[in-house]
Amino acid sequence: MSQQQRSRHRKKFLTFGAIPLSIFLAVLVYPFAQGFFLTFTNWNGFKYTKLAGFNNYIKSFKDPAFWTTLGFTLKFVLVSLVLVNAVAFGLALLVTSKLKSSNIFRTFFFVPNLIGGVVLGVIWQFIFNTALVSISGKFKLPFFNDSWLNDTNKAFWALIIVTVWQSSGYMMIIYITGLTTIEQDLLEAAKVDGASPLRTLAAIKVPLMAQAFTIALFLTIRNGFMAYDVNLALTGGGPYRTTELISMHIFQEAFAFGHFGTGQAQAVLMFLMVAVAALIQVAVSKRMEVQS
């Protein structure tokens, strides 16, 4: 590289890249890297005096509350992964089935996604705590007699209902994009050959939109691990901290109880789970995309 070229490159870097990259380093990379390091010290939120090995991790794993959270979170991620995507894919098929009103339907399905989880959580808290209880009192429906949010197991399903309602509209958009990129000729050919709609779906549509599945599945897994707003506003972790997803648990651990070391150790574990899920999922999907 000539001297002149090098100086031009440097100038281009300084004009175009230096500011955003420095902010990126300061705001994201540095705290992330430091967070790893601090979990191996006796950090108390302000300073650390010595290295502490795996102490923070061991303490986390010895805490039964952390296991409760972990189990609850994994169950939540798995169930929401299946239901959000099943519903979203169903909605996408419905909206692309050339119905007259499909545009209005699409808008309706998408609306919950525009609104933040906190507001949605508060709305549904009213529904579960007040509206449904009052209706069941009137019509003698045993199912909603007591608010779902007072029972750990039912509160789990309340969280799932709100999550599916909130995010299926967004995943639907991804599936619609996938469905509309399939060439019409192929579908026509299948029809001429007498393939049933179900067979067309399984043999043509699904394999040809593997990429849409990759994206939607990854996003649902990540959103599941990161879920905080709906959790906070709907159940607040209750009853008795039994419905705390990992995000809220980390928040509480650090900012409510001042356990910065263990909180950060759990945050690192959470990151590792997201990363592993992402890697497995991308590897599997890539293989499927290649085969199709």
Binding site: K11, F24, F109, V119, S134
Partner: protein, 277 residues
């Protein structure tokens, strides 16, 4: 042949009815809020699903005052507007640099940016707050806008990068021959060509920042709180004032829904492009 046509038309009607039912149930919670926001408290408790027996605007007056609605709305608008505008400027320029200058440094940088997108904010929020606590205490709105640059730059740059790579570099070279420098080439020639992807970047980031809760909760104070924060705090304080809560929720929801209905086409196409990452 005739029976299949009839059967198909029945099938379509059933499908339509099903779609109608599902789409109504998707908006039903908002209708419930709308309906109840005009009722006095006792009416909500005795009859949450019914039509209001008497309409009252009192709930709205109370909610606007207690949640500091207009202050929160203005804070939300300011923070979203500046964060997104600056993000567009920074990330489009960075993407242009990374897409046009091909060397080991730019390739690695791009890879790191893409990889960083899987890092959840929660994974770093604890050290993050320890590092930036002092900065936040000086001016928390400016700090928040600054933070959004760091957390938003990866996705936005990625979106711009894909788009810029498809623009032939002969265009830049022709302009360079005419004596324009890189800065001018970008802003005069390339940036105007990026309009569709700029719309995507603007929509994806606006929706995220407008609704974000966790980071503003850690950073902002009472005077600077955004709409999601003030809704949450208002609810925490007056949760048994059902009518006021309903009015507050409606107020929190209306701006973004109005915005969406106004720009619906751009929203849907923007988000579908933004998601395919």
């Amino acid at each position: 042949m005739k029976t299949t046509t009839i059967r198909r038309s029945i099938g379509r009607k059933a499908l339509f009815a099903f779609g109608l039912f599902v789409s109504i149930s998707y908006v039903a919670p908002f209708l419930l809020v709308l309906l109840n926001s005009f009722k006095p408290k006792f009416d909500i408790l005795s009859n949450p699903l019914g039509w209001p027996k008497q309409f009252t605007m009192e709930n709205f007056q109370q909610a606007v005052e207690k949640m500091n609605f207009f202050r929160a709305l203005i804070n939300s608008i300011i923070i979203t507007f500046f964060s997104v505008s600056i993000l567009i400027i920074f990330s489009s320029m960075l993407a242009y640099y990374l897409a046009r200058t091909k060397n080991r440094f730019t390739k690695t940088t791009f890879l790191i940016l893409v990889a960083s997108m899987i890092v959840p904010f929660q994974a770093l929020m604890i050290p993050f707050m320890a590092i930036f606590a002092q900065f936040v205490s000086i001016n928390n709105r400016v700090a928040l806008i600054f933070f959004y640059q760091g957390f938003g730059v990866a996705l936005s740059t990625f979106l711009y990068h894909g788009f810029i790579s498809k623009i032939p570099s002969e265009i830049d070279e022709a302009a360079a021959v005419d004596g324009a420098n890189d800065f001018t080439i970008f802003w005069r020639i390339i940036f105007p060509m990026l309009r569709p992807i700029t719309a995507t970047v603007a929509i994806v980031n606006s929706l995220w920042i407008w609704n974000d809760f966790l980071l503003p909760r850690l950073v902002l104070t009472r005077d600077t709180q955004t709409l999601p924060l003030s809704t949450y705090l208002f609810y925490g304080q007056y949760s048994t004032q059902y009518g006021q809560v309903m009015a507050g929720l409606l107020l929190a929801v209306v701006p973004i829904i109005a915005f969406f209905l106004f720009l619906q086409k751009q929203f849907i196409s923007g988000l579908s492009q933004g998601a395919v990452k």
